[in-house]
Assembly symmetry: D2
Homo-oligomer: 361 residues x 4
């Protein structure tokens, strides 16, 4: 199922090399102005072909809006946006059908869909499906910004090269603005060169590399979310794990909290004028599943792109025997830079859904 959300529902469709991909967004408030330039900017941040960290495949990724918008304003009816695939089904994937790529969904997709799934370019499993997700998030971002809520993400690490992390207790607007328009989002810009060097090194060695994206949502009012299964962590992770290659998520101090004492991890409350705030933000803006008013901060771990050009051992599902696979396709040696706006988009969708459930949208 490629549908998500309850009050703001998205239904993502498409296969990498089919006629088109897109998304239906249902439940949007009416009367929300859409700045198309801003939408396209977010799409272009995710689009491939910009630099050497990305796949050489070129796509315009300009969505056509079929419904739900009149005079650049939402009508309240479902918004459908379609992106045509101009670069369609190739022969690059001929051998993948019988010989699944290690680390990829070829094998599980084969079993799940009985061999009927469209294997070209990864089909519906392709990272290309993050384009409509980014679009849907970009629509929500504009609504959220009018309500004082912002999302921003950066490359926390590629391999062992690390950016600075957010100060979760204080994320300045200028940083958010800088990240929101960046194509290689970093807090510490001096890390761009070593990160790019590492990616290039992996590319040259026919390999790939993973990384971590850190994301913040600021301006969320306190009291949004619910205990147990409708908590903010549950909701954000339910969409973030929809981004291909994500294998872990942590909120606030996250896994580090597992080594901490309560006296270290607890965040003191204090009055900042009339507002209750915490001095530190190990809780990542969430206590008991509910927002505290502090920035919501999480990190998502991306595994390295499984599609590498090296020879790999696998099986041949038709011959029922072990096999050796060499892939000839166009693949990112590191998807993390392009994943940054996707994670922001997922956070924006989650934030909009949370507000709607809290009757505050």
């Amino acid at each position: 199922m490629s549908s998500w959300g309850e009050r703001i529902k998205i239904s993502v469709f498409g296969e990498s090399h089919g006629n088109g991909i897109g998304v239906v967004i249902d439940g949007l408030p009416s009367g929300e102005a859409l700045d198309m330039e801003k939408l396209y900017l977010q799409m272009s941040r995710r689009a491939p072909g910009k630099d050497k960290t990305a796949t050489p495949r070129l796509e315009k990724d300009i969505p056509e809006i079929l419904s739900g918008v009149l005079d650049s304003t939402t009508t309240g009816a479902p918004l459908c946006a379609v992106i045509r695939n101009t670069n369609t089904r190739s022969q690059d994937y001929g051998n993948v059908l019988s010989c699944p790529r290690p680390g990829h969904a070829d094998y599980t997709g084969f079993v799940r869909y009985g061999g009927f799934n469209d294997i070209s370019g990864g089909g519906h499993f392709s990272g290309r499906l993050t384009a409509p997700l980014t679009f849907a998030g970009a629509v929500c971002r504009q609504m959220l910004e009018r309500r004082g809520i912002k999302t921003a993400a950066h490359i926390a690490s590629i391999g062992n090269v690390r950016d600075s992390l957010f100060d979760p207790a204080d994320i300045p607007d200028e940083l958010i603005e800088k990240l929101n328009t960046s194509r290689f989002g970093l807090i510490d810009d001096t890390k761009e060169e070593p990160m790019r060097a590492l990616v290039e090194k992996c590319r040259l060695s026919q390999d790939s590399i993973g990384g971590i994206v850190e994301c913040a949502v600021t301006g969320m009012p306190a009291g949004v979310g619910s205990p147990m299964f409708e908590g903010i962590e549950n909701l954000i992770s339910s969409i973030v794990f929809g981004i291909p290659a994500v294998k872990g998520i942590e909120f606030g101090a996250g896994f580090a909290a597992a080594e901490m004492r309560g006296s270290e991890n607890n965040d003191e409350f204090f009055y900042d004028g009339d507002t209750v705030r915490t001095r530190t933000n190990n809780h990542g803006g969430i206590l008991g599943g509910i927002s505290s008013g502090m920035p919501i901060v999480f990190r998502a771990a991306f595994k390295p792109t499984p599609s590498i050009s090296r020879q790999q051992n696998t099986v041949d599902l038709q011959k029922h025997e072990n096999a050796v696979l060499e892939i000839h396709g166009r693949h990112d040696p590191c998807i993390v830079p392009r994943a940054v706006p996707v994670v922001e988009a997922a956070a924006a969708l989650a934030a909009a859904e949370l507000l709607a459930r809290a009757q505050k949208l």
Copy 2:
């Protein structure tokens, strides 16, 4: 919202110091024999008061089944189980209402519920609500075991004391059986003493400590799950973050994959007789959201119990001023040992839901 699931739905209710807590489980198959002794065993693994790592509060935690079971067999109608609270609302929490405990949901609950939530013992936010979750999971486990699917968890770490981790490519049944009946679940039993020592040290210093629980689901057939938002990671995290104090989750290699190369992280496929398996299992049994047939493995990070007896700075919400809080309650210095069966239960519920969605239950 304290409801979870679509085909196997649970609705958890209760407040720590109210009349009772419990769960309704809807969508269970009919004709499933329930071994009550086994159910109670799982409940007792989670129950407090067994040793010094746990709160001294004593509860019988014997659920009464009101419906859905006849002659120890499921009828297919909703199963409701109720646990009476024998140890009810005390005066221990008087000051918590106006002075929220750092790291706890007191403040966010106050904002969310406008001060009407039952604050005693944490109310609906209490870890005590994991008792009905454990019960629901224990029901599902028995169904799953008849279908060859097992869940087992252990204490991967408390603070900086670490157990061995699962070999995710090969989890023997004997280990699963040992863990399923353990009250302090470890792979390497020599770690019990240093872990207990660390917890005791924290207790004596009026502090608490976090940890990590690792969980495996074995026997899941390949091809279960879906891409994007109905993936196994999405579903498991949507329930695991319903366990209080969880701040992170990772599948397979998880965050470590972010530092790996594709050539390291990719798991080679091979034929093991007629079965396709992988030699390693960095993918944690999940590719593209779908099961590969290998063990599903994940780890959940638990923050340290926020309720510590030390003086802490906070705010007084009635006086609108900063305040100092000292808590007099009964609290676990480390919840991780008791969380082990809860994580197993959550995994069992997710596995049952996955099978039902895949039309294999």
Copy 3:
């Protein structure tokens, strides 16, 4: 599945002759005062044993609230209410297990649950399960009344004896109040005697009789609901068909509209002061799935109670042969009078859900 709702979720459990029945209501706003006397009044309107139209089975039907209420006010946590069955599993149903009663769910339940369902008293299919539904609706009614929204229903007909219908364009508060406390709800009280006479006649001839309940929701603001699948008609019918024996529902002019011209059926708009109203209300307060501000009016058709004492032809599922069945149980010859508060309750739940989705609760 016995769960309903998205923002106000109910999970109904229990079997007619089991340990207890009840409901969990999740998503209630906090801080809502509950008048227990009013709750019990609604329960007593539905309770059996009051007069000859009803089954002679006596039940106290006094629910115990286990959670979600503190000091007679909702806490915002799930509210669980349990009604103990004092009159439990009898031998009256011995032959029903192999010989399904015509018109009843015995056969379909047998197939659905493989013979494991609790057959006594109808098990989970019993009309007794409308008691927790009535309770849940009664909780919502109190919330709705504080927001100016009222629900009222009456016996539109029993067999061919008809009450007057609502004037859907003008339903006075006094009528609503009268109906809300009535045990045999009628607009035209002179119809009570002929209705009771008809029911008694059916009872004496070991037969039963059907009828229609008409229900109105007044005070719903305009603009609530959505087109297509989240329309008010969709939502109300999704819960009303959860009441056993309902076989039809119509809104506004309903089936009569199928014989009307547009010029007859269209309701003219006009300004009543600053408020837009319609002079007639054939649309039943709903246009395009959305409330118009006029009273929402619908009618539900109840089939005659299938359990009659006459000999009936059926099958013997064990012997695999045709059979003759004679039922020895306690059954209402007409459930319509007792169904009136149940329909009101269903309408109240739907109204609360609609308001929550519209972010107006």
Copy 4:
């Protein structure tokens, strides 16, 4: 919200005069062959402009499939089909924005969407949105037919001209086949002339007329569905009320059962060979929300088209005063003939969802 379904999800989008309309169908099984000619046949049955009962607007209504189908076979990924609007936004609706049409959703849509909804041609409320619904149903029909399940509907009445009704206990395949390809579906073909005459009379008098569609689903195995809120009646009505102009639905004997005795309404069971059947089918194939194996039969009441060319009284929402409206558009004087394939499609979607939930798809 224009999304429906849980295991077979549809998300319908589009506005009457926007760029395009369509549907995403998520959850389809993979490997289902699609006969495109049969799909187009169903679309053409609903398409306007065929005869005088319908609007003169001409549309090709040929959907383009963007995803989810490869080599005319479902891949298991979401199927998106788009129909371009070739006949777009006109000036015919200028006065509707301020003067809502009686009986139409103009007013409620205005309140719901704050005046931002696309009013042209009815926008998202338009009957034109039944085209993607018909498409989605036509996809499901082909799957269902391979599993022995068929759906067929006919015009039960237009105004007071009535067709014969189904014999619900015995619906022959030949009748189903005839209806499935008919553009004016009747059991008794002699009723076509008087029905068309009535519609023409209404058209000439600038009026419109309502009617009833009766629909049957045959071949559904016994034991599908659930008690209470997941019953077959609940599910079918949740989608049928998504068809514009439906104001009532009844199953089996429906409202007529309200006047019947139990001894009349109860359907005797008997063994027909090894199969349990009922001699009559007043229960419409559904007992306790669950299929009995007999044909599922229901009727939906359609109100007369609200758009009539006569002068009508209404309000002017901009001037805040009463007003007189004359509509200049293209409208069906009777939508019932075109609604027949739409009701069949809705029934097919419901049947597919029921099978999936029952783990039988």
